[in-house]
Each structure stands twice: as structure tokens, then as C-alpha cells.
């Protein structure tokens, strides 16, 4: 099954590229400029690792360290302990994981309804969904803070999780995908056979949506892992996510900048690993979202 899934669209894709044919080969200048961009993209990250491996308490010296020192693991250990990164990592995995699963699930359901089902007010509701993408999160923060305090949920993970369980972007993303990727005849055929809506979702929609669900999942995870504003307001040092822990490391009075860099490195590492593994899919997903968005 997996093979048909992969080969069929791949062939179709290749044909399209041929159609778009006449692409010019990049000249040496293009490669030079791209290399510069690539260096600018990667250098700060590489240098983070360099700085994290030094023994200097203050890295602000002239010239700045350009090559690795021997203190990486000590610094990682110190940062881990000082910022409570163990708890923070665990919390971030729970938070980002829950948000990802729920966003993908609910976005697929709503996206399917908007793409393929007929119901009253559907276009109005879709318009509303798109419109709300413009609302800044700052607009919801004060009441949420007050309500969560009332419930006695300050500093608890559900405070961070609940407001992010769905996104308008996710719903719209899935809708755009399913409009084309899910043949309407397939649903009608299942209907004629008397399949209930839940059956159709399970046996037709989910399999068809799987590639887009994977991409949306990755994008949502990156977003949830990096979310900053609400976690900083809702959580304290005792029960932080990674970003809150990094914030306390950076705004605290830690004099050892190598340790701070080690913390920054640790906080980014899970996503960088995910990026090495799934970078291609994430890139594809962003491009796909862009075409259809």
C-alpha cells in the first residue's frame, strides 16, 4: 500500500516538472550567493555549539572563540541542571505532542466537512475561519489568564495546552488539501453502500489525508514547541516548557555565557533532529500550503 501511495503521485509530479521544463541551470554566481545565504543560515547555530564548548565564563573576548573547546558536556550538564531542562523537555513534549495530535485530528474533520460535505452556512463558516487567522494571540491573553487563575490552573500544563488545541490555519490547510486530493465519487460510492459518516472518515478520509496530516503535524509541532508568549505568562520556573526555561536562563543572573549557549543548544536540538529527519517533508508542506493558500 505504501508503495502505491508513493509512486503514483511521484510519477505525476515528474510529469509536471517536465511540463514546467525550460528551467535554467544555475550558474556559478547563483551557487556562490546561495552558499553565502546557507552560511548565514547555519553559522549562528554552529557557533552556538562552539560557544557552548568553551570554558570561558564570559565569551565576550577579542577575538571571539572560533573553534570548539573541551567543555561541551560539562556545560550541557550545568545548563540542564540550572534551567531544569529535564522537566522542561518533558513538559514541552507533552504540550507539543497533545497540541499536535488534537490539531491534526480536529483540522482533518473540519477540513473534510468544508471540502466535501454540503451543509447550511458552510461557506460563511469557512470565511469566518479564514478571517480569524488575523487575530493576534495577545487579544485573548488577559481573560485566559484570569480564567485559568480562577480554576486554580496557574502553572499547570493544561493551561498552555487548552487554547491551542485547534487552529484556523490547520482547518484551512486540510480543507485546501482535501478539496483536490479526495475524489468526491469515492465518498458518494461509500454513501451508496450505506457507510455511515464515521466509517467514511475512518476508511476513506483519513487514508487520503495522511500525507497532509503528517505535514500539518510537523508544522504544528514546530509551532507548539517554539510558542513563547502564552507559556511565559501562564507558567513559572517551577513547571516550565523549554522556551520558558530558556527565558529564565537568559534573563537570570547566570554569568557563565557558555552555559547559556549550552542551554540554547539543548533547547533547539530536538527540533534540529526532527529537521534533519523530516526537513524534506516540512519544506514540501510549506510549499504546498503556499501554492494553495
Amino acid at each position: 500500500m505504501t508503495t502505491t501511495e508513493l509512486t503514483l503521485p511521484r510519477k505525476a509530479g515528474r510529469r509536471r516538472v517536465m511540463g514546467a521544463g525550460k528551467q535554467l541551470h544555475a550558474g556559478p554566481v547563483a551557487y556562490v550567493v546561495l552558499t553565502v545565504f546557507a552560511l548565514v543560515s547555519l553559522a549562528p547555530l554552529v557557533w552556538t555549539a562552539v560557544a557552548a564548548s568553551r570554558t570561558d565564563r564570559r565569551l565576550a573576548e577579542t577575538p571571539p572563540p572560533l573553534w570548539f573547546g573541551g567543555n561541551l558536556f560539562t556545560n550541557l550538564q550545568t545548563a540542564w541542571d540550572q534551567a531544569g531542562l529535564g522537566t522542561a523537555m518533558f513538559n514541552s513534549v507533552i504540550v507539543a505532542g497533545t497540541i499536535t495530535v488534537s490539531t491534526v485530528l480536529f483540522s482533518t474533520l473540519a477540513g473534510f466537512a468544508f471540502a466535501k460535505l454540503r451543509f447550511r452556512f458552510s461557506s460563511l463558516l469557512l470565511l469566518l475561519t479564514i478571517g480569524t487567522m488575523m487575530i493576534p494571540p495577545q487579544l485573548a491573553v488577559v481573560p485566559l489568564y484570569l480564567w485559568m487563575s480562577d480554576l486554580g490552573w496557574s502553572n499547570q500544563l493544561q493551561t498552555v495546552i487548552l487554547p491551542s488545541l485547534v487552529t484556523a490555519f490547520g482547518t484551512f490547510f486540510m480543507r485546501q488539501y482535501l478539496v483536490q486530493a479526495l475524489p468526491t465519487e469515492l465518498i458518494e460510492a461509500a454513501r451508496v453502500d450505506g457507510a455511515s459518516s464515521i466509517r467514511i472518515v475512518w476508511h476513506v478520509v483519513f487514508p487520503a489525508a495522511r500525507p497532509a496530516m503528517a505535514v500539518l503535524g510537523l508544522l504544528t509541532f514546530v509551532f507548539a514547541w517554539n510558542d513563547f508568549l502564552w507559556p511565559i505568562i501562564a507558567l513559572n520556573q517551577q513547571n516550565p516548557t523549554v522556551q520558558v526555561a530558556l527565558n529564565s536562563l537568559g534573563t537570570g543572573y547566570v554569568p557563565d555565557q557558555a552555559v547559556i549557549m549550552a542551554g540554547a543548544l539543548l533547547g533547539t536540538l530536538p527540533l534540529l533532529i526532527a529537521f534533519v529527519l523530516f526537513g524534506k517533508q516540512i519544506v514540501g508542506g510549506i510549499m504546498q500550503g503556499a501554492i494553495k493558500g
Binding site: 484570569l146 460510492a189 524534506k280 510549499m287 501554492i291
Partner: protein, 341 residues
């Protein structure tokens, strides 16, 4: 290597590729025949299912979104008309428009608004220009094209917190990497944290670094959707590469450009994490002289450092108004541009 990504980008190119279940599967495995007569309970159930299920599928989204975004939005407006202190949450008194009047006469508010606009412009404009150029290069036939794209997108995977901590160190006044590199060009050390434009530039550069690659991919996607015959006919008319870029690519990209301008503007209006962490210990003030205190920071400072949640609510709604005004101006400008062409 390109092809599988293409598959992701154009999955619908082959409708029969609907992955997973072959058309027969649903029928074969679960077929129970067409619903019997019009009045049987099964057919009634079936009709009820047809009617209700769309609402069931969209309702989680609307319930959750309503509860945690739309309703709070209205409550923020309500709280902005009240005096709500962090130290006494249960004691809320009516304040009318006092919070807004307060903002109107506050230098810090106007300063934050000005900073938000300045930093927004100097981070959005270079970012989008660089992204278009980058996308143009990535649109050539490249060796290892996917690797280039992934590398350009790496900063996007870096969190605000991690990126800002690194850049703060790079921008150190004495012996930071940036000043050290500049000294080879005979530039005196710049105080990136204290100087007015220096600090704003530093904060902007973090934004530019994180988002240029992301925007480049969006432009690239749009470029690949431009029909080739447009370029062919332009070439026949004798247009060189630059003229093709100027007269074919850019006009075709206009909707995408508008989209990225709007998205970046929204992002810039909410700018928060970068200036907060760049400021270190006194982050919420946006520097010793509030040089880079944005509206987002100002709201956080007033609400959770000083503890005036009513005022913070008023700032939030002011931000929204600013955003709407910018969006309206954007719209007007694009209408103008379209008419003038």
C-alpha cells in the same frame, strides 16, 4: 529527489492516487446495501447522519476556537474598560475609557507604537526582498536542490528564545562576533544594546534571520506555478532574464507577495520574544531607554510586571486597531497599484 517533493506539492495531479484505500475497499468491507425503504429506521438514521455529521465534524473547531479565542477577545474589550490589578484579581471596578485615555497621553505607548512600526519595517522589507531573490535562485536547476531548501529553512526551526540568546551574544559590545568582524572593515565597536538604531537593527536581524528562508519557500512555490509559456513568449519578444523577472515573475507573484506582506505585518505587530530576551534582565522594558520596547512588550510589561491587567487589555485592543489600519492601508495601496497598471 525533486520528484517526491513535487508529489507533496501537487498531490492532486493524479486523482486516482488517493492513497490508502482503493475505491472498492469501502464498498467491499462495509457494504450493507442501499438503505431500505424510506421509512425504515435505518434510512431515517442514515438521513439524520447525513444532516448532522457535517456539524459534528466542524463543531470541535468552533467550540474550542470560540471558547479560547473569540470569547476572550470580547472579554479583553470588557476588561479594558475596567480597573483590574494582578494583585487583586477579584476586585474589578468600572473605569470607562480611562485605560485608553491613559494610553493616549502616555509617552511610553507612543514610543512603543513607533518602535513597533520602525522595527516592523526594517525587518519586513529586507526580509521579503531577500526572500524573493533567494527564491529566484532556488528556482534554477540546482544540484541538491532539496538540501539547499532545507538549509535555508533551518533558522525557522530555531526557537525565538534560542535564536535570541545566540544573537545577543553575537552582538556583545566588547568582543562580540559582530563588532569583531566589523573592526576588520574599520568600523568602531557599535553598542548594539544601548544605541537607538543599533538595538532596533539587532532585534530586526533576528527576525530576518529566522523568517527569510520560510518566505523564500513560499515565493518559490508560487514561482513554480507560473506557466512556462509566459516566459517563452517573453523570450520571443526579446526580453532578457532581468526583464523576464521584472515583467513576468513579479506580476505573477503579486498575490503571493500581498499574502506574505500581510502575514509578516501581523507578525511584526506582535513582535515580543526577540526584544524581551534581547533586553536580558530588564527585558520587558525594551532596553534602558525603552529603545526597542514594542507594543507586545509594553503590554506584557504593564500587565504582568507592573500588574495592571486592565491597561494591558486596552493595549491589546489598540494593537488590534493598529493591525486593522495597516491591513486597510495595505489593501488600498494594492488596489491603487492594480489600477495604475
Amino acid at each position: 529527489m525533486t520528484s517526491s517533493k513535487q508529489a507533496l506539492a501537487h498531490p492532486a495531479a493524479s486523482a486516482d492516487a488517493a492513497p490508502g484505500t482503493p475505491p472498492g475497499a469501502a464498498r467491499g468491507a462495509h457494504g450493507r446495501g442501499t438503505p431500505a425503504g424510506p421509512d425504515s429506521w435505518r434510512s431515517r438514521l442514515y438521513r439524520w447522519d447525513m444532516k448532522a455529521s457535517p456539524y459534528a465534524f466542524v463543531s470541535p473547531f468552533f467550540i474550542l476556537f470560540g471558547a479560547f479565542t473569540l470569547v476572550p477577545l470580547l472579554y479583553t474589550a470588557w476588561y479594558s474598560l475596567h480597573n483590574v490589578q494582578l494583585s487583586a484579581l477579584d476586585h474589578q471596578t468600572w473605569a470607562g475609557l480611562d485605560n485608553y485615555k491613559n494610553l493616549w497621553s502616555s509617552d511610553f505607548f507612543w514610543n512603543a507604537l513607533k518602535n513597533t512600526l520602525t522595527i516592523g519595517v526594517i525587518s519586513t522589507v529586507p526580509q521579503l526582498l531577500a526572500a524573493i531573490g533567494l527564491a529566484h535562485l532556488l528556482n534554477y536547476k540546482l544540484r541538491g536542490s532539496t538540501v539547499w531548501r532545507v538549509v535555508m529553512l533551518t533558522p525557522y526551526a530555531t526557537s525565538v528564545a534560542a535564536a535570541t540568546l545566540v544573537f545577543t551574544l553575537l552582538y556583545s559590545w566588547d568582543g562580540g562576533m559582530v563588532n569583531w568582524i566589523l573592526h576588520f572593515f574599520g568600523v568602531n565597536p557599535i553598542n548594539w544594546r544601548e544605541s537607538d538604531w543599533g538595538s532596533q537593527f539587532a532585534v530586526s536581524s533576528i527576525v530576518i534571520w529566522r523568517w527569510t528562508g520560510y518566505n523564500a519557500l513560499i515565493y518559490l512555490a508560487a514561482m513554480q506555478a507560473i506557466p512556462t509559456d509566459l516566459y517563452e513568449s517573453a523570450a520571443i519578444d526579446g526580453a532578457n532574464r532581468w526583464q523576464q523577472f521584472r515583467h513576468v515573475t513579479i506580476p505573477q507573484l503579486r498575490p503571493t507577495i500581498l499574502f506574505t506582506v500581510v502575514v509578516s505585518t501581523i507578525g511584526a505587530t506582535q513582535l515580543f520574544g526577540e526584544p524581551l530576551l534581547f533586553g536580558g534582565v530588564s527585558g520587558s522594558k525594551g532596553g534602558s531607554e525603552h529603545q526597542y520596547q514594542t507594543l507586545g512588550l509594553y503590554m506584557y510589561d504593564q500587565g504582568w510586571i507592573i500588574g495592571n491587567l486592565g491597561k494591558a487589555s486596552a493595549i491589546a485592543w489598540s494593537m488590534f486597531l493598529v493591525l486593522l489600519i495597516i491591513a486597510a492601508v495595505n489593501l488600498l495601496l494594492t488596489r491603487r497599484l492594480r489600477k495604475s497598471q
